[in-house]
Subunit: 345 residues, 2 copies
DNA sequence: TTGTACGCGTTATCAT
DNA sequence: ATGATAACGCGTACAA
């Protein structure tokens, strides 16, 4: 790895001239430029960006803290982050907390959790990142972030009420509303719900969307048509009988797994999905398209969440030290995948 | 963000002393140590690791180039990388090439591809990473890596014959062999194969494993029992009839999607999987466990591949400039997931 | 147009 | 035990 000094010496100029050429600061004759350029080519010289960073104080690097890479939502979110960062020529320092592996799925209740997050943030800071995006594994309230960070921070797929930290979330309310409106447009009026866990933000927002769609469609909201599962397939299976007794013509499952469970039970009870009864899911997981019949579901805008989070953080970074960011929440819309699990009645 | 100078000034000592305290270089009285420590605490001082890196030339950072984050194998591989790197206190600079988005799925035939990879490698180098792991989206021969890199490089989930670059791959041969041996142990002799694309490494290796298992089980290899699909579900569906005509009692599909397609066709033909006929898949994709009956399949050691790749690269980094690494290939074993799709006959 | 000298935040060497 | 100072590789005034 040659340094700028060596390039200067070999081309017979000073380091200043080489630097000027690299950074296109004019003030250099065409003649010497091509001579030096040639040496740079030949030596395969790349400026040491660590030294550059030390001098100029911009690392063109943002830190991304992922709660757990292997949770299905994360890769797409990170993909969105990298897409925008590539456009803006920022690189990514990735931290994978591996929270699901280290703790149970209630890691965020662990007292060690907050300390871990903060330690990683300070590590990132010591590497001079210009901003930090925290990517959660599922939506909830996050309040373990340090106050008064020297660089902007953004929370993706969760939210925080901490000052100056914007959040980017899925518009679950819009997604559920759109999906249920679709059901209504297909003639369904008695629409059962197999909800997720009761304390989940996703559950609450999707339920609101369901209620609003009903209201806008002039359908009375019947609380008895809502039953709670636990996001797992068996809970979809178990709760189907109850809704059938209520004579629903459609079942809105709050994720695709539970919809799969409902499929299983409906199959046993000889009710043909997409013919005798409608089922819709949420998330658009890979298996949704492979169910029989293919499941109509609401896709999560994961990529867009990551993309939006990067947009926000880079915007904040450009503003530099100016007015503190608001702790706003940006919602990104879901997009439906209409397949064959909904019949018209 | 305070600097070491400020800490020195405030504690009334020289920067050298502060540095010595931070790095535990002895030679400092207990008295001044605690005084300085206190200032460090109060000021919330963290050493600037960019400056430290410039001086000491170890960034404790490795570069990870992912061909496409959103391909199913990648998150687990990266997770494995991060696990080992965390233990060794290395951080990760992530590059997501997004190759599947930018090109077709034959990106590696594009002439731009090689240039892109090399550009990213030099970017990483300029950030002073101490090693680079290249994570491919599927196994094949990779030969676009630059020669004579100043830091070690390892290829994960593919291989290269380039000098000094070790590779880590799935032991497809072992996986297929184990799976087919299991079929044989369950009494099956006429075992049909729905293979992947003919030019895929995975296909070739898995076919070898199949043949070896047959040989070891004293079963004649009948080439007519092997048919080629394209990894997609419909190709599993299409090829099932052919194998049925050949009177196979078991079908080895080279991935879970094609196994799903076989399920579909078998269902139409009233052949009960796990009762009248056996089906096995490969990869252990999420949907495998949800098929009816749950699919017996061979799991890919993705996490372990990442882990192993980190082990190798960090080992190489420790060896420093010493003897060039061999361009060896490490194979990591697959692990079977026995479920309910194989009957005993 | 080109070169000199300094500073960025550290660590390391060598005095004191 | 502590401090002054020279690197590390680069960018940039300012001088030439």
């Amino acid at each position: 790895m040659p340094t700028i000094k060596e390039i200067a010496k070999i081309s017979g100029v000073s380091v200043a001239t080489v630097s000027n050429i690299i950074n296109e600061k004019g003030k250099v004759s065409e003649e010497t430029r091509i001579r030096v350029q040639k040496v740079i080519e030949e030596m395969n010289y790349t400026p040491n960006s660590v030294a550059k960073n030390l001098k100029t104080k911009n690392s063109r690097c943002i830190g991304v803290i992922a709660e757990d890479m292997t949770v299905f939502a994360l890769p797409d979110i990170i993909d969105g982050i990298t897409e925008y960062c590539e456009k803006e020529d920022y690189q990514i320092l990735l931290v994978n907390l591996r929270l699901y592996k280290k703790f149970e799925d209630t890691y965020y209740q662990s007292d060690r959790y907050g300390a871990i997050v903060q330690r990683e943030i300070y590590k990132l800071l010591s590497k001079q990142v210009e901003g930090i995006i925290y990517v959660a594994a599922h939506e909830r309230l996050i309040n373990v972030l340090p106050q008064q960070l020297p660089v902007p921070m953004v929370v993706a797929y969760s939210y925080t009420t901490q000052k100056g930290i914007p959040s980017v979330m899925v518009s679950d309310e819009q997604g559920a509303r759109e999906l249920v409106k679709y059901l209504i447009s297909m003639g369904h009026r008695r629409i059962g719900v197999i909800a997720g866990k009761k304390d989940s933000m996703h559950t609450r927002s999707r339920l609101e969307g369901y209620q609003r769609a009903l209201f806008e469609g002039n359908v009375l909201y019947d609380p008895d048509l809502v039953v709670y599962g636990d996001w797992e397939r068996p809970s979809g299976y178990r709760n189907t009988d109850y809704l059938l007794e209520k004579n629903v013509t459609a079942i809105f499952c709050m994720n695709d797994f539970m919809a799969g469970g409902a499929y299983d039970r409906l199959d046993e009870r000889k009710r043909k999905v997409g013919k005798d009864i409608a089922v819709v899911g949420y998330d658009n997981r890979e298996m949704a398209g492979y169910e029989k019949p293919p499941l109509t579901t609401m896709g999560l805008p994961l990529h867009d969440i990551g993309y939006r989070a990067s947009e926000i953080i880079i915007e904040l970074m450009k503003q530099d030290e100016k007015a503190e960011a608001e702790s706003s929440i940006a919602y990104v819309d879901c997009k439906a995948f209409i397949r064959d699990s909904v019949n018209r009645i």
